[in-house]
Amino acid sequence: MGARRRLRAAWADRPTPVFPRETWALILALDRLPWPWGENIMACCFVAKAFVRIERLRQALAWASAQQRRGRSRWALAISLCFHHGRFVARAMVTGIQDLVTLRQLVRLRGQEHLAAAAGRGRIFLGFHLGPTSPDIALRLAGHRVTWIGAWPSWAQKRNALPPEIQELYASSGEHDALETRPSNRGQARVRALYRARQLLTRGRDIFITADGAGQAAFELSLPGGPAKVCAGWLLLRQTTGASVLPVLSHMEGHTQVVTIHPALPSPVADPGDDLKVCREALGRLLTDHVRRFPEQCYFLAFAERRRAPRHRETDPRLIHGSPISPA
């Protein structure tokens, strides 16, 4: 495909409503620069934007105030938060990364030893919006087949914006494009996705699902800086299939995205109420520790819709929560 045709196809593939036109245009433009220029420019743009959209800056400062900063100023943390948000937006689209060799150098997978303990049955990789997005890419790079269950990033949505080698990686490492759970798609898309996820798990396959995206809340976790909603879909999958649940967290170390597989949650117990309690306690400990270590990377909590005043609610809040990256 010629460069012009590829660009046209990439423009048509804009993942709506996650990326506004201007952000998508910027991503496509920055993608032509050598890595990491695009990432850095995007990060700086997000810092600048916070000073233009003061509400954003207020949210960042409020988040920073709620953290134990250990000698770090509130302003430094707030600016770092905006910077990381911009970097994550660029990284979500592998901006400036044109081949697998470069991508492999920028992604590291830790905790693979926990996979062995959960082998032999379906596994649920449970992600959270507490760091750089698309942590499943680390599993794919390491040779694991995994099916992404979620609204975005569906690789099919952004396929034409990805370099061919990375398209091939997605295409060869698990189902991905059919399990659409976009909340704006009224009807029964989410039911279909959850049902199919259950089918995969009962056949011993692995899925990746985020716990804090769109969907019915099973419980809230009280984290430093505010509560985090944890959805019920993965919990039902766990309880009805007995699949192992391995929490997966992601953070940046410099320019490297580190994806960590944590030990599996305790096996399901018969009583759903007791099971929920077990999961809440285990995840509460894990996420509290993560937020304390990387508060500057938890943009999703800092910029969550619930922190906005009602008069700013211009979009269906479920869409905001459904977006791993919300650059608007």
Partner: protein
């Protein structure tokens, strides 16, 4: 929840399954009551629970691509019709 005769789904059995799973039920809930908005208010998770309970009770299996549509999962009656159509095959 098990039906007395798994080969004979009835509207009442399907309704009982839905009522059992729904967090709240309209006082006048009947066959035409919507499963989701304006009726039993089942979200996707509770809708899936309902489907799994129906599978187990009536010994049917579904094809998510063709069976789970806005029409088939609209009311208790359309769900009942779906189950019956699966049993006939």
């Amino acid at each position: 929840m098990k039906a007395s005769d798994p080969d004979e789904p009835t509207l009442e059995t399907v309704r009982a399954i839905v009522v059992h799973i729904a967090d709240r039920s309209p006082l006048d809930a009947g066959p035409e009551t919507p499963l989701t908005e304006g009726g039993f208010e089942l979200d996707s998770v509770n809708l899936l629970k309902t489907i799994l309970a129906c599978e187990e009770t009536f010994q049917v299996s579904f094809d998510p691509d063709t069976d789970f549509t806005d029409q088939t999962l609209e009311t208790v009656r359309t769900l009942f019709d779906l189950i019956r159509s699966k049993q006939r095959r």
